[in-house]
Symmetry: C2
Subunit: 217 residues, 2 copies
DNA sequence: TCTTCAGCTAGTGTATACACAAATCCGCGC
DNA sequence: GCGCGGATTTGTGTATACACTAGCTGAAGA
């Protein structure tokens, strides 16, 4: 594995997990020393993070971890709705019905009790997303969605899901998967709309309730 | 201006204009020599082009200018529809009505005769896009749109617009601008849908008619 | 005391040298 | 003559040295 890939993966994980908080200054010498790579691959990693929007060049001399406030989350979901509704429509037209019927069944049977249930939930969602990507068969759409998902990992970290929301989310995914299996593009798109609306509402409510140390705008 | 920016700008222009045809191998030493920069900034430029999707790493040793066939154009327009319909909806909700009423008027009065008419058309479209971006006020959406537009420059190059299509396109833009000015989000979105459908149809027809030396799939 | 300028410092931008990996070509063996 | 293996070559991955710029600090003059 290349040094620049390692640096990128490490920094990505640290930003997504919050270990590197928004506003943290990322000096090239400092970070390259810390990560054990030289400045050249580190610069490449920073460039990729900047392309993703996870870091920004605050001034010509200082790169910082980008901020992510409630406004950003709303913006993110506006784009996400556009892309995922389109993905749902395309999948309904193109996907293998049996495959989505099968995963709809998995959503129906999903058990979310305990911490391992949460992991299982995220794993199931990830598999569903991967199936959707494969079905839409559109590199440009997938690339755009990947960028959005990269940011959403941070959002998830900020707003802890509550159990009720998780159960509802699974049910919503089941509807989407069923609609795709039934080749009902409109239903798939509208179910996605509803799902994302509920997810956003839940996240924003969660943020409202816990803005104890959240930075002021 | 940084050497990496110059290299990026030059390569971008050459790829968009077709001077660097799809499939052209971009060796680091070769290109850095040609552009008069060293390998380090050139690598950064190649990295940004790869992030844009304009070049791809065909193998671990060879970077080539990415191809763009009719299938890509369809994919591109699927994403474009998703993003621009959303942008139109958001603009209808947020934009300054007077500004869009004014540009709708410009579309109504646009004169497209001659080659300078074509330039005026593209300039007007560019201004409209910029106004839309400013109105939607969503960095993530704008970033996604920017990527798509980067590819669309190449599409335009492949498929020469005919005068009839240009006139129709102006009329369609007038409808969209008017809808935004009237705060009619649904009309703006649907007019955008129709516009992009027509644009895609025209492009694909143009490609059909002139696939003399277009590579076979 | 405040302002301004000069020099220093820290950190990025760029160039280049070195290391490594893959592909190709030539020679040898079968 | 054909195939296989090793050496050479070419090109990327990484490290590091050098250059330049911006920002800061200090002192000196008004």
């Amino acid at each position: 594995m290349r040094a620049s890939d390692r640096a990128y993966a490490t920094l990505l994980d640290e930003i997504q997990s919050g270990a590197l908080a928004p506003g943290t200054v990322l000096g090239e010498v400092e970070q390259s020393t810390r990560l054990g790579v030289s400045r050249t691959p580190l610069r490449e990693a920073l460039g990729r993070l900047a392309a993703d929007g996870l870091v920004v060049q605050q001034s010509p001399r200082v790169t910082v971890v980008s901020d992510l406030d409630a406004g950003d989350i709303r913006e993110l979901f506006e784009v996400r709705r556009a892309l995922e509704e389109t993905a749902a429509r395309l999948a309904a037209a193109r996907a293998d019905a049996a495959t989505f019927a099968a995963i709809a069944d998995e959503f129906a049977k999903a058990n979310l009790s305990g911490a391992e249930g949460l992991d299982a939930y995220y794993a199931l969602i990830a598999r569903f997303d991967a199936m959707l990507d494969a079905s839409v068969d559109n590199d440009y759409l997938i690339a755009a969605l990947r960028t959005i998902r990269t940011h959403l990992v941070r959002v998830r970290r900020l707003a802890r899901d509550n159990p009720d929301r998780l159960a509802a989310s699974v049910a919503e995914h089941r509807v989407i998967a069923s609609a795709i299996a039934a080749r009902d593009a409109e239903l798939a798109a509208h179910a996605t709309h509803v799902h994302l609306h509920n997810a956003l509402t839940s996240i924003l409510t969660s943020l409202e309730g816990s803005h104890t140390e959240q930075g002021a705008a």
